[in-house]
Structure formats: C-alpha cells, structure tokens
Symmetry: C2
Subunit: 165 residues, 2 copies
C-alpha cells in the first residue's frame, strides 16, 4: 500500500490526487499484482476504484467488505460482512495465488489485528502530506514484524517488505 512519509494514504477528504505524479512509474507494483489472485478491499476504497476509468483488478477475484448492497456494475465482485478471519480461511482454501489486502485503513487494521497478514509490501512516497487518512489506524495491539527487504525505486519511492515477526 502506498503512503506518504508521514503515513497517509489519502488527503483528509479521501482524495488521492497527490499520487498522480507517481502513476505510470514502475515500483514493482505490476509484478506484485501479477502474483495476486484475490483482492480484498473496504467499501470506501471500492467505491473510489469503481469510479476510475480503468478497473485495476481485471482477472482477479475481488471481495468488498461491506454491509450495504453493491451497485450493479460490470465488475465481478463479491460482498462480505463478518469476521475477516473466516474470510481469510475461505480465500486461503480457494486461492492458489496471493491474497492482497488493498485497503483502506479499516480493512487493513482488521486483518492486522486478527494476525492474518503474512507479508507487508509498503511503498513510501517522498513527501510529507501533513494530514489525511492514515495507512495504519491506531490500535491497542502491538505487532512485531521482520524486515525482508527495502529498496529505493523510481522517483524516490521506497519499497519496504516485512514478514510476520
């Protein structure tokens, strides 16, 4: 998931216009996504992505965490409401490829707190956004990780990969 140095994934109003200068550059994201069979997203992230001209999850199973019905759209997505541990178990049984939790912050936090993340792929963009929606929502839980690698990518993006500690 991409965030600013100060850890924001979106403007205070949810905007991601500040990401525009980094679109199209190769940070290894395409390669990462090639391994992904299933994507899990929260409702706000889905609603935002569904509004894009280009559907970024073509060919992948997409699960949207939401209690509300989804609008009828062309994309083939599933709805899930409930314990993310149950969802993870089901997806791990069904999927050969990676399962990618693509945000937003509430979705990521639910998976972290249930200790369901095997690998964190974090892209840090070279700016301090100042304020906005944090990548990691506060939690009483402390989570120790193990650094797998860190790499300087195009445009000053840092890619850090962590494994379960």
């Amino acid at each position: 998931m991409a965030a600013s140095i100060d850890g924001y994934i979106a403007d205070a109003d949810g905007g991601i216009g500040w990401l525009a200068p980094y679109e199209g550059a190769d940070f290894g994201y395409a390669q990462l996504m090639a391994q992904v069979e299933c994507v899990v997203v929260g409702r706000a992230t889905y609603d935002m992505i569904a509004g894009f001209d280009h559907w970024p999850y073509a060919g992948k199973r997409v699960v949207v965490l939401t209690h509300r019905p989804l609008p009828a759209v062309d994309h083939c997505v599933e709805r899930f409401a409930g314990d993310v541990a149950i969802l993870a178990e089901e997806l791990r049984r069904d999927c050969q490829g990676d399962i990618y939790v693509d945000g937003g912050a509430h979705t990521l936090r639910a998976f972290i707190d249930a200790d369901l993340i095997d690998r964190y792929d974090l892209f840090t963009l070279p700016l301090l956004l100042g304020r906005g929606i944090p990548r990691f929502l506060p939690s009483p839980r402390r989570t120790h990780l193990r650094l797998d690698s860190c790499q300087a990518m195009d445009l000053g993006v840092v890619r850090s990969t962590y494994l379960r500690g």
Copy 2:
C-alpha cells in the same frame, strides 16, 4: 529520529521502553552524531534525556526549546523560546558541524513548517506500535522531499535519508 513502521516515536504515555531491544545495535547513529555540533530538542524530550544515566550529547552544544527555566544540572545546555527560524540562523552562523533536531514531534514540526530541515535521517523499527506519539504531527503544510538513500540496517531497521525537495 527513530519511529515504528506506523510512525510513533513513543508510547501513548511517552514511554520508549519498546526501543530497548534496539539499543547498542549499530544503525549508523553514532556516525551521524559524530558530524553533529549542535542539538536542538523540545522540553519534554530534554526532561526525559536529562533523566538518563548517560548524557548522550556530551561535547555538543545543546539548545532546549522551552519557555520555562531549566533545572540546574551538570549538562551545559541553553534555553531558547521564540521563532525557530531565528534560532536556526544563529546556529548556522555559529556552527561548523551539523545541527541536529532530535525531537520531539512539536520541535520537529516547527522546523519542518519553517522549511529549515536540509536532511531527514529517519530510522524505522520493524514493528507496528499501534498508538503513541507520532513522529510527524499533523500540519496543513505539504512538504516534498527527495530520497537520498535507503538502507537495511541491523535488526531490521530501515534507514531512509531525504533531502529538501
């Protein structure tokens, strides 16, 4: 400045016990400090450091940002209250070596917002602390930086260096 992956420099109560496993390891901090002639710290950070058995700023000029008088201690420190841009100008005139803003968050934010930081040396420790005192306090200001380097250090610490954008 060292922080968790989720950007906290201290527990919610200001505690830094979670840093203990990383003490003594070489992250390049000693080398960085060898270039430093002057250290600027906020009052809370100073009060904490003054309570340590070991004074970490031996041989350096230390300026504490505070309106309140400092207690009489052995360490030779100066007090400053006012515009940090004026302080920075004075220190740049007087110092040959680096001037190091060592926190806390309010002090760092004041220097960032006045565009006084030439280089950011950020150490990221491999855990999600969950909650606490953030390294970067919220600000309406957006600050673009330029990645200088990132490096995996001992114990899974990532050192990222950014320059003014």
